[in-house]
Each structure stands twice: as structure tokens, then as C-alpha cells.
Symmetry: C2
Amino acid sequence: MKLLASLTLAAVVSTLSVPAMAQFQKPEDAIKYRKAALTVMAAHFGRIGAMASDKAPFDAKIAAENAAIVEDMSKLPWAGFGAGTDKGETRAKPEIWTDGAKFKKGSEDMMAAVSALNAAAKTGNLDNLKKAFGESAKTCKACHDAFRKE
Amino acid sequence: MKLLASLTLAAVVSTLSVPAMAQFQKPEDAIKYRKAALTVMAAHFGRIGAMASDKAPFDAKIAAENAAIVEDMSKLPWAGFGAGTDKGETRAKPEIWTDGAKFKKGSEDMMAAVSALNAAAKTGNLDNLKKAFGESAKTCKACHDAFRKE
């Protein structure tokens, strides 16, 4: 039964990781992709942050446009973290693959937080935006602290 | 009148370029951003290309998901081509800034073509997808030929 359980687990893991990897020809393509998706997300998140921290004038329309892009982008990077993408031009820590459940939970927390940020931005209220931005930023930091090398 | 025309033109150019640049702290941030947006777009466009060229099995749902992302991404890179972003880690040719009207037309052609690609993907018909992919790829190539160094 132990062997069967191992084989089943291997099949599940394989099923989970193959589709993601199959999207990229080489591991370095996956790494480049996930970094690019996070770069685009960070740029738009940063524009909301400038308003949320009173460093830029609050413009509800611009905030909402950026928050919508952040939510769209938040779904993309994860496909780039498939098996075999732990080496190369990356600051990804091995824990992403050795503690996949925690990493997955972190990604889900972030996606939920920026979805709430998008909803908050649509209200056009700066206080709502500030609160939701702070909650989102916490989820970024949590994953960076746990899963990204300095 | 010539002076007035010049001043008016300067004001217009300034109005056009300031908002784009104001989104980025430094020119290198804008360059990194536009490359990242194009990298993400290319990855998803490539997955449609694999189906359109019969190198990957056609899956209407996956094609539609990727085409929607391509259309979303197609709107983003242009803000990263503001004044002062012609130097640095970039293969952008000076013509982007000396022939801005042609570059803008190229960007609009691409956005229209990938919007049509997204509509074609939604039909679930491989022939529609192949035709729209081909039209989109032409617009990529036109800009790369004219505005990107080898």
C-alpha cells in the first residue's frame, strides 16, 4: 500500500507540474516569464501605493485602472514555478518546491487580497483603497520573506 | 504664428509624454516594464501559435484563455516608451521617437489585430484562430522590423 500511495502521489504531482512546464520550452523561459509577470504587476501595484501613501494625488479612475491590471496579473506568475525552474537567474528559494502547499497558500492569499483591492478601488474611496492596499502589501511581503532570497 | 505653432506643438508633445513618464521613477524602470509586458504577451501568443501551426493539439478553451490575456497585455507596453527611454538595456531603435506617428500606428494595428484574435478564439474554430493568428503575427513583425534592433 505504501508503494501504491507513493505511485499515486507521484502521478498527482506529475499531473500538477506537467501542464505548467509544458507551457514553456525551457526552464529559463518559465523563469523569465514569471519575473516579467511580477514586474508588470509591481509597476501597477506601486502606482496604487503612491496614492495610498499620499505620495501621489488620489485619482479614483487611475487607481481603478491599475487595480484591475494588478488583479489580472496576479493570476499569471504561478505557471512559471513548475518543477525544474528552481535553478538559474532567479532568487526563488528551494522552499517553493519543498513546501509547495505553503507557497500555494501564499499565492492564493495574494490573489484574494488584490481581488479585494480591485473591489475597493472601484468604490472610489481613498480610505477603502488604503486599507486594501495595506492588506495586499502584507501578502506580497509574506511570500517574499518566505520564498525569495535577498 | 510659427512661434505659436511651435509652442503649441511643444505643449502637446509635453502633455503626451509626461503622463507616461510620470508613471516610472527612472527611464530604466520604464524599459524593464515594457520588456516585461511584451515577454508576458509573447508567451501567451506563442501558445496560440503552437496550435495555429499544428505543433500543439488545438484546445479551444486554452486558446481562448491565452487570447484574452494577449489582448489585455497588448495595451500595456506603450506607456513604457516615453521620452528619455531610448537609451539603456533596450533594442528599441531611435525611430520610435523620431517617427512617433508610425510607431503609434503600429501599436494600434497590433492592438486591433489581437482584439480580433481574441474574438476569433472565442468562436472555438481552429481555422478562424489560424487566420487571426497570422494577421496578428504580421503586426508583431512589422513593428519589430521597423523599430527593433537585431
